[in-house]
């Protein structure tokens, strides 16, 4: 019966569709990530810049500010360490791999809401990386310059010396791939991913910490996971 006393006509298919959609949608909280991931794998034929512009899928979402991604040339690549150091360094890829190596498994959190748990990283702790360059007493911060212009981000020396911060060159037991920043990227698990500069080519030791690419665009410099960017 209805308000005006007439029998309603038809069947409540719209209401059923509503409940079915809500149910399917809520259940997708468990499976939707992997389903979208599969779907996004089937879009690999789409040009890289477009895929970078419209992120889909769970797990890694590759953001680039100036696609296409920089290309890694194993012979020509150099990592320069300069600024407030006693002995500026220029490392080849082989020299980076020859430094003391560290392994860790840590979670990766992006400020836009996605996370990848249990990523296996292999790389060099910043203490070992900076040892030969010998930062001067005035050194307070590191600026990480990417080959992807104009991306740059910074950490204080204290943050960079965190026991789980490193310059990684391998992820999940394979050398870093091009989308993940080959050949080397910053890993700082306690902060959101935009602090993890990819395609690193230069580290400048400075006496004060400066704003990185996204910080100049309103994001927090101290990008603590669970404690920054509007919490």
């Amino acid at each position: 019966m209805t308000d005006d006393g007439s029998e309603p006509e038809g069947r409540p298919l719209g209401r059923r569709a509503f409940f079915a959609l809500v149910g399917a949608g809520l259940s997708s909280l468990a499976w939707g990530g992997s389903a979208l991931d599969l779907a996004s794998k089937s879009t690999l034929i789409v040009p890289e810049p477009l895929r970078a512009a419209i992120p889909v899928g769970q797990g890694w979402r590759i953001y680039a500010v100036n696609p296409p991604y920089p290309r890694f040339d194993p012979l020509g690549w150099r990592l320069r360490i300069e600024g407030l150091v006693a002995r500026p360094q220029t490392l080849t890829y082989a020299e980076l791999l020859a430094l003391p190596q560290a392994d860790q498994t840590s979670d990766f959190h992006c400020v836009t809401g996605w996370s990848v748990e249990g990523v296996r990283w292999r790389g060099v702790r910043f203490a070992d990386l900076l040892a030969a360059a010998a930062p001067l007493p005035a050194a307070r911060a590191l600026a990480f310059v990417s080959a992807e212009r104009p991306y740059v981000d910074t950490l204080t020396l204290g943050q960079a010396l965190a026991p789980d911060a490193m310059l990684a060159h391998a992820m999940d037991d394979r050398p870093l791939t091009r989308p993940h920043g080959a050949p080397a990227r910053v890993v700082m698990p306690r902060m959101y991913g935009y602090k993890g500069v990819k395609w690193l080519e230069r580290i400048v030791v400075t006496d004060r910490v400066a704003d990185g690419f996204w910080e100049q665009r309103g994001y927090d410099r101290d990008a603590w996971v669970g404690g920054s960017n509007g919490l």
Binding site: F18, G25, A53, Q58, T112, G113, G218
Partner: protein, 243 residues
Amino acid sequence: MTATRGSAARMVSDGPRVVRFGRTERTLHWVHASSFLAMFATGLVLYLPLLAQVLSDRPLMKALHLVAATVWLTALALIALLGNRRALRRTRRDLERFTADDLRWLRRQPAPQGRFNAGQKAHASVQAALAVLFTVSGALLWLGERNTDFRLPGTIALHDVAMFAGGALVAGHIVMAFATRPALEGMLHGTVPADWAAENHAKWTPAPPAPHAPAGIVRIALAITVATAGLTGALLLAGDALG
């Protein structure tokens, strides 16, 4: 059926008109529409790196997104509490019930339609479900920033897919609205030309507007509580996001 899709555009007449939407339904529609557009625009900036670089104020975009979400949910609750509930119930019933004619219409066979055609009914059901899914996944995203344990595997996928689906539906809806001027007038002013209604919604007998039983003291008290809570929440979220 085809008349609704296009040829009706130039049928606007000065003749007699019939009431299709009361004030409550129109308020509900425009609150929902403007909130959706506000959240869609700010959400795209939060989602697309390219836009984030151009508009470049994440805290502001996030504050606007969260305030729009809070104002939207508060306004929906206020409309449910203070609006013409009989009219809302009648509209819901008109939207959610499908007749044999509706199913024929969906198969693109000529079939007389009621107050809403089957496409409009389907659209409303999907949009209502999307509203629920946006709210749940959005709340989970907000919680996931506080504690990453709340980052469920499908939260982002659900919010994104809902955004793509909602965006496509709304785009189609806007195109249809401008292609069907009498229908657009109905949502703007409440009335549609009687001859247009007779042709496109032949099974609809425009009933006099359902009488509006004013809200009692309990519902007014509830509404004041909801409005206060919503306003406080919006201010807290804005302050939070803007740091």
